[in-house]
């Protein structure tokens, strides 16, 4: 199998499921899976979220009277802390965390494995992942989260909810609008979705637990949900 350009988003919940704590066992397994991808000579950009530590620090920021903007910057700072932990755990990766997609581009040619956290206030780490994927023209974008993929509706409320193996990007937009009404945390915000639509990057949403799901998604083995796009010019 030839080498791919991959962007992986690792949900912050998977890394820091409790405020102030890291899930060391999970990270060890994740690192093992990522090492496997490096061994297979894929190029990796990994995007980490802030998880519960971020959420707790943001809550403290709220009590301190910080603006939404500054709370976002604190969340970004925690996501970069997680990026650092992952970069240090992953041999061969760049031990510096780029702060913007423009800065990422300075390192991407000369470094096969780069880890980043958030980039800018008002922007989810999913948007960061989609931007990175677009910037390097990634072969695949894998969103590793704590659910099994994209459902027809919220599985925690609707027993008839069904996991979608493939979901058209327009259908996904419709589902997100509905689930947002239901107050659940969305997998994709509007900005990430609109960048995805224009770039048509092959995207797979998987449960990051166990990390083997990530390997499956890379290998093209059926797992999670794949986002599909309208064909261009009947191709």
């Amino acid at each position: 199998m030839y080498s791919l350009k991959l962007v992986l988003k690792i949900s912050g919940h998977l890394l820091s499921p409790k405020a102030g704590a890291l899930d060391v066992c999970y990270i060890k397994e994740l690192v093992k899976a990522l090492k496997q991808l490096v061994k297979e000579r894929h190029r990796l950009i990994v995007v980490t979220g802030g998880g519960e530590t971020a959420r707790e620090y943001i809550r403290a920021g709220e009590k301190l009277g910080l603006t939404e903007y500054h709370k976002d910057r604190i969340g970004i700072s925690v996501s970069r802390l997680h990026a650092l932990v992952l970069a240090f755990s992953l041999p061969g990766s760049l031990k510096h965390i780029p702060h913007s997609v423009e800065e990422l581009e300075r390192y991407v040619k000369a470094n096969k494995v780069i880890v980043v956290g958030g980039f800018e206030p008002g922007q989810s780490t999913t948007t960061v992942a989609v931007l990175c994927a677009e910037a390097v023209n990634a072969d695949k974008l894998i969103i590793a989260t704590n659910v099994d993929g994209i459902y027809t509706s919220d599985p925690r409320r609707d027993p008839s909810a069904r996991l979608l193996e493939k979901v058209h990007v327009d259908e996904l937009e419709r589902i997100l609008t509905l689930s947002q009404l239901a107050g659940t945390y969305p997998l994709f915000d509007r900005l990430s979705l609109s960048i995805l639509k224009r770039s048509r990057i092959r995207t797979i949403v998987v449960n990051g637990k166990p990390p083997e799901n990530i390997l499956k998604a890379v290998q093209g083995v059926k797992v999670g949900s794949e986002i599909v796009f309208k064909s261009r010019c009947n191709n």
Copy 2:
């Protein structure tokens, strides 16, 4: 009158109405108005768009087969060129163009007048302006564009369209959704609107021509359309 923190967005069309050209007469008048604001000791962040030069270079990028992401970066590069022209024309301004809101924050304390262009692909310069306003907790955000303000519908198509002196942010969202269906260029994209909603920055949309409108908006004289927010705690 005491000094304010102001963010002004100057639409690219006003600066570069024709590919490869600048509207020198307009820029001279604009600089005169901005000098007036500096004289009144306001702190300014000015955000410039790329206008027709950006559009033409993006079209060339399209023909060269560039990705959406890289075309966005070209547009950003032109908007920064316009920021440079304006910064050089405006005595006392920082003669360096920050590339991100994080970089902006390094200079904002020590420089009373800063000009920026775009920040990141996938993001309008209106979003840049809203981010800057949020970052410095601006007293007012003024969007100087080439229409007189926000209309109930597209005035170019609907003779009954009416300019709104005040428009609630939710109503604005509804109007933008409709006008977008009609294919017109939106004043606000969704991201800028969602940041605006959370930060509740006082925002006025004016016709940047003549630049006196900007001065009026600063002074609180009735001009253009003001975006209003739900009251917090009945205040």
Copy 3:
């Protein structure tokens, strides 16, 4: 009273006494005290520690097999997160956290209030504070920690331990050597002490709780322990 150049080190324990959590009440009071110092037109450099969140992330790093060097960098990253929280809470401060004393010097002339975390692996935040004090030729260095000052021996073990109002730097060195044998966490590491000795910066160790102690130390009111130096040329 005329304005001073002050460096304040705020122990991480005071900011984050529990992993993943900030002591919001304490930080509010601290910010109130710091605002008072800003109002009195003093110039401030504040150095924040990583506290329990840092300790917990370092422990996770240990389990992930990271080197001492990388664990230090994680601790530095948390201390910078705390610097960001404090900078955002403190109006008028630089909203950017310098990463080295060389970078600090770029901002120090144009910004009256700067907050930093750690600088370099193998170095305590006390050393950072002493370096900053030396770099700007500070009038006073205040070390705000969670004990009342410097004792003749460890007060938690020795009931006859006595708080020293003034302690000669050589005596301090002797006490630290002994208490280090007893395994307690030292207020000063050797590097910070040796820089202090050469620069003879007026240094006061206070209990950062309540933050009024910091104000007292600035005003010259008797509080905590002052480190004194051999007189130069009988002065």
Copy 4:
């Protein structure tokens, strides 16, 4: 054929022959030629000029009362925009444009293809190209312009003007002094010539149209004019 270190200067007129426009057809052919050089494993630094877009923006700057220095900086900004367009069109190139020769040196080891625009006011992009060639100790410097090479006199005025296959650097200096008197735009300014003289880099001036001329110059096929130097120590 073994790989070479090459510096290519592409005249701005070739890229932007009309204000606000790019010559897309030419750039496509150029990219094809450059890809060929990359395929042959040469290392490339490409320097782009600002062309007519730069000239038009500088004229606007003139009308806005900008200083010569600031007009130069606007020209540099346009040349960097062209560098960006070329970098984005050229797979495998660094997607960041260094702003000085010192910054270039940070990337040159790890990136085989780098594109730059101007560096500093008061300096032509030809000087930039000669500096880059000197910095990396280039095997060849190719100046791609819109004339066929160096003539004995200005061919547009003097029907007896003759293209020189080889021209000694001192002879070139004499010709430039004369042609400058005649008011024509010089291929080389004095600074670029004096750096060239001291470094004795093999330099070939070709018509960049068609880009095959660049390939010929690399391969050592006779094309345009070659600048020759005095032998050192009779070698």
Copy 5:
């Protein structure tokens, strides 16, 4: 007297008249004069040369087989070392040495006293001084060197050489061409002269010894040689 924007070039020979050594007595007097200028609220950019230490290190580079380009970079590095010494000796100055005129512009608004060394290979520190003067639109440029001003011919060879109180820039160019033939070290290289010509900055060449000459040149007292320009529009 109102405050001026001043650029002062201090010849490296004045600072380091012997390889590896600084003229401490001279620097002390110079600092005293510069403090006087700061006290009078002038804004200063000081440009330092590399002097004999630079020359000695460049000779070593020659023996090590370094290119002209790399020898220039070594000379620049020494000139920046001298800039650091002067910045550290001068209270209130920026303690960071900008490496390019673009970087200088980031600091110039917020720092009243900045010291720089060289910028780029192939460029004298006189050119650096002229560029800085142009960038900030300096009121006066003072070139402090080790001769009393500009002579009609080389005073060390021609007993009839006469110091010129005022010299037209074209006349200066003629003298330099002649003196260069005579092998003497030129006060101005061609690039600095051509930038000077276009910007018409008021320039005075003085003997930097004693530094009171610099104060005289600032105050408009007759000293050294002033370079004069053709009048624009009969003014």
Copy 6:
């Protein structure tokens, strides 16, 4: 033999044994040895000291009344000048000198040979070397100095002093404490020793003259003194 990650500290005395001068013959031989290591495909970080030029400039700084901190920064600046000379003499090395260990990490993946000088005031270049070794997890750290290794006591004072082939780190600490009492210049300061202890990097102290000693130390041939550590967990 497979490739190693090596950190080499070259004492400043070896490079600049006289103020303002470089030992060109020594540097030539050193470069020859380093080229040999590059040819054997080892990865190198070389740390250079400031030597006598640094010492002389620091003495001048003393006379100018500079603080210890600023004198340290001048010494660092000279050590970086020496790093530049060595980098320029060594083909294939990065031609940029990182200023901190964090900056080093940006380049270390993409550049096989990097030269640095000092990092921070209050820190010896030996500490810099130990930090670099820790950061890249070096296989060997070689300290090239002007003595033959570590002695039981100061050989210049004690005729019974004996060179130690192997010395335990605790024994080394004891010797340094004693020799420091005797006022001699220590090979290791406390900070470098404490980082060494925690990281247990294989360290060999050799006489850098002739540079063949460095090659021997790399190859494992007996030369100088090796520092040995307590076994961890009986392994």
